[in-house]
Symmetry: C2
């Protein structure tokens, strides 16, 4: 049983960046890993879902289901998804814990004005021009985690520093250590 690491935060906060850096570090150690990235997911098994609360919730549930499938087969799963609603993240956490899958919530925290300034995909601009309805942070809510396993202040720390803390948290997840050791022993 491998871990599921769930990166949540505003668009532009740095979720995918830290997830990819974590992926690279785990691959270097020979640990099987898969990134489930919000943008890619919406082109595959969540195609057709929109950004209403109901559709966002359904998206989170689907990603949770696929993540659990992979984790059960020893794949560490890194989910990079805004997932703005606390109740749904907590639902995923309960789902994982009831399946004995270690779950780490990583709050990728950058102030809204920083994210708007970065705007790597030009989405905040579009949202501000009214071209995207229901945009998280502008009109649509973001409910920050109350007790995340890791919090990354990406306006104050480097990607390397954030990634190191995620990796440390993974090491201390008891089952994650076991999985990594098992994988190494098999290689």
């Amino acid at each position: 049983m491998a871990s599921v690491v769930w990166f949540t935060g505003l668009s532009g906060a740095g979720k995918s960046t830290i997830a990819r850096a974590t992926e690279a570090a785990l691959l270097e150690q020979g640990i099987p890993v898969e990134v489930l990235d919000g943008d890619a997911i919406r082109k595959t098994f969540s195609r057709g879902l929109g950004f209403s609360k109901q559709d966002r919730d359904e998206n989170v549930r689907r990603v949770g289901f696929v993540a659990a499938l992979l984790a059960r087969h020893g794949v560490t799963v890194l989910v990079a998804l805004i997932s703005p609603y606390r109740a749904l993240r907590d639902e995923v956490r309960e789902q994982m814990e009831s399946a004995a899958i270690p779950f780490l919530e990583v709050y990728v925290n950058a102030p809204l004005n920083i994210c708007v300034g970065r705007d790597p995909k030009g989405l905040y601009g579009k949202a501000q021009r009214g071209e995207i309805p229901s945009f998280t942070g502008l009109g649509d809510p973001y409910e920050p985690p109350l007790a995340p396993e890791v919090e990354c202040h990406t306006d104050q720390e480097t990607v390397e520093s954030s990634t190191r803390r995620v990796l440390e948290a993974l090491q201390y997840a008891p089952r994650a250590i076991k999985t990594a050791a098992t994988v190494r022993a098999k290689m």
Copy 2:
């Protein structure tokens, strides 16, 4: 890279039964395996999809995506899904082949009147009473595979016999052999 085995056929033809027997045989050999069963899938990541051609096509695509994810991580995936449309099954085959994932189509073939007689879930009865629209075989089409890797005539052969032929086909899938050998070497 493990194989994806895609069981297609009418409701009641025996897809899940053969898939579960195949799963048990692979688990006994220590080969990682996952069954993606149509009924279960519609309660999780395909919840909300109906039985129109469009929704069935979307369901097949989603299952194909998840199956590929698992196969890439060394899990042999057994899909048990009516998947009545040839074009969509061919699309999945191309998707797998382009990702170098061995793909086996297993046509679980029993005549409609036999399936109606078995009716293990009472669905044909409901469909005949007009309570289920778009039921495959009654009103809705089923397009049989033209060149399946395996064809099981479940009205003429035992579950054991069908399962043995699926396992043989898996052995002869070149990469499947490699995967099984790799897994055994690691255990």
